[in-house]
Amino acid sequence: MTERMTDQPLADQATGRKLVIAAAADLPPGTRMEVRVGNNLIAVFNIAGTYYAIYGRCPHQFAPLSRGRLQGTVICNAQTNWETEWAHEGEVLVCPGHAMEFLVKTGQAIGYNLKLRTYPVYEEDGQVVLIA
């Protein structure tokens, strides 16, 4: 483990195990689950019928990301001609601790050079399967 603390939460104990975490019917669009694998937390979301899984603790002070709200946020860059615009509606995971923001699809922290791990998650035979 490196000394830089921002790296610490990214080091997880992924084993590549295929985990059945729920019946698909129990995780309909708009719902989420917190999956604890050993000491590791993973947040799983069903957004409009597609599943997303992301490392479950905020790298700031370890608050559980599974409880974070999903919303949009403001961006301002060359593509917006340096004007502030609302973007990523429904795809920004806001930490319920101190409101750090992550793109739930990629794990990218908005405004930080930091990316959380994401995990494969899909439906198979009526079950939600997480590879972690």
């Binding site: 000394e3 830089r4 603390m5 921002t6 610490q8 985990l19 059945v20 975490i21 729920a22 019946a23 129990d26 995780l27 719902t31 989420r32 689950m33 917190e34 999956v35 604890r36 694998v37 050993g38 799983v44 700031h60 002070q61 370890f62 608050a63 559980p64 599974s66 409880r67 974070g68 709200r69 999903l70 919303q71 946020t73 806001v94 319920p96 601790g97 101190h98 409101a99 923001e101």
Partner: protein, 393 residues
């Protein structure tokens, strides 16, 4: 209904989005490690909104506050003092993303204490923190009177719960009366001077009766800042900042530096050598700056401060400091290095600011490397000494 699947060490739980900040998730993560320490949370806030104060207001102030509370103020909470007097240019700017700020009820405070991990909570004002820059000091005094009566009434005689009186510095005589009224109460452990906007700064002789009274009752002075939607006074003004992020970042530490400098340079520690001071909610990284910056100037300008018998840092080293809002230092060893730099192993006190939005989760402190002895002191032993508490573990 939560559905759970247990597969040895795997557990999947259905959860809901949190609309208020998650609280104490770290306690379940660190509970076992923390159980061995006496832990004092040096900065805790309960609901002291004006609705709570109104029954404790006296005379015409009660009638006038009742009328004021019927008005519809934008913002959160609706009956907030800071919103009543705020310049609204920031409202909505930093409050547009969840989680939202939160005030703890008595039940929530007791539930947190009943987890058995935190042994003491020191309660500080929240909505009452702007009283030092209310234009009418009599209003400030009326609110302080109500706050102290409310707190002793509602939060006295609860296990592990201790109270910091609040005084309005702009009416020192009134502050002295309040200290005399509650100074011997077993659950009153400090005198809180809200320090933002105090003009002249708090070391001025005008305020010395407050220090004398606190000294008499062996109560330490705690300076508590505020995020401050309003900085119409020292050391920063509204016009300096287009965003609340900037006023938040500068307001607390600059106020802390100003007041520490003022107290030391006015000779307060020479006149009241046994009186203890602390600064809470201003972070830590600025402490070495002000200590050694003043030492440097002292060599040249000492004749301006003839009462001092030691260099400024020798006095400032005796101050205590609440850790919140713990700055995000990049490396695990950095907090220890910082504390060594200001020689604060025996004067740094863990503080969460629970349950406010910007509160520190204890995991944010535990992740830093330091000796076991230093961790034990910061989590509780230093605060036990500062607030005159009994060891609980």
């Amino acid at each position: 209904m939560p559905s759970e699947i247990d597969d040895l060490d795997i557990k999947a739980t259905k959860v809901d989005a949190a609309f208020t900040p998650v609280q104490d998730q770290d306690l379940d993560q660190y509970g076992e490690a923390l159980a061995q320490y006496t832990i004092v949370d040096t900065d805790v806030h309960v609901d002291d909104t004006l609705m709570r104060m109104v029954d404790y207001m006296e005379g015409h102030y009660q009638k006038r506050l009742q009328a004021a509370l019927q008005a519809d103020f934008r913002g959160e909470p609706g009956n907030s003092l800071r919103n009543m007097i705020a310049h609204v240019n920031w409202l909505g700017s930093s409050y547009d993303k969840p989680p939202r700020a939160k005030l703890a009820t008595k039940t929530e405070l007791l539930e947190r204490m009943q987890l058995g991990i935190i042994n003491y909570s020191i309660l500080f004002p929240s909505e009452l923190l702007p009283i030092a820059y209310l234009p009418d000091p009599k209003w400030a005094a009326a609110l302080a009177t109500a706050y102290n009566a409310f707190m002793v009434d509602e939060y006295g005689n609860l296990p592990g719960v201790k109270i910091a009186l609040v005084v309005s510095p702009n009416l020192p005589d009134h502050a002295v009366e309040q200290i005399a009224k509650y100074g011997n109460h077993k659950d009153v452990v400090a005198v809180c001077v809200p320090d933002v906007g105090v003009n002249p700064p708090i070391g001025d002789r005008k305020y010395w009766p407050i220090f004398e009274a606190a000294d008499h009752y062996h109560l330490p002075i705690a300076l508590h800042g505020i995020e401050a939607l309003v900085h119409d006074n020292y050391p920063l003004r509204v016009s300096h900042f287009p965003t609340l992020m900037q006023v938040h970042s500068m307001g607390f530490p600059f106020t802390g530096m100003l007041q520490v400098m003022s107290v030391v340079c006015e000779g307060v520690p020479v006149r009241f050598p046994k009186l203890k001071f602390c600064v809470v909610e201003a972070g830590l990284t600025w402490i070495p700056f002000i200590m050694y910056r003043l030492d440097t100037a002292y060599r040249q300008y000492r004749t301006e401060l003839p009462a001092l018998e030691q260099k400024p840092s020798d006095y400032i080293r005796e101050w205590y400091w609440g850790t919140h809002e713990l700055e995000a230092l990049p490396k695990r060893g950095d907090l220890r290095k910082l504390i060594e730099l200001y020689q604060g192993e025996d004067t740094t006190m863990w503080a969460s600011d629970w349950p406010h939005l910007e509160r520190d989760l204890i995991a944010g402190f535990m992740r830093y490397d330091m000796s076991e002895a230093m961790r034990r002191k910061i989590l509780g032993e230093n605060a036990v000494r500062f607030f005159n508490l009994e060891q609980r573990k």
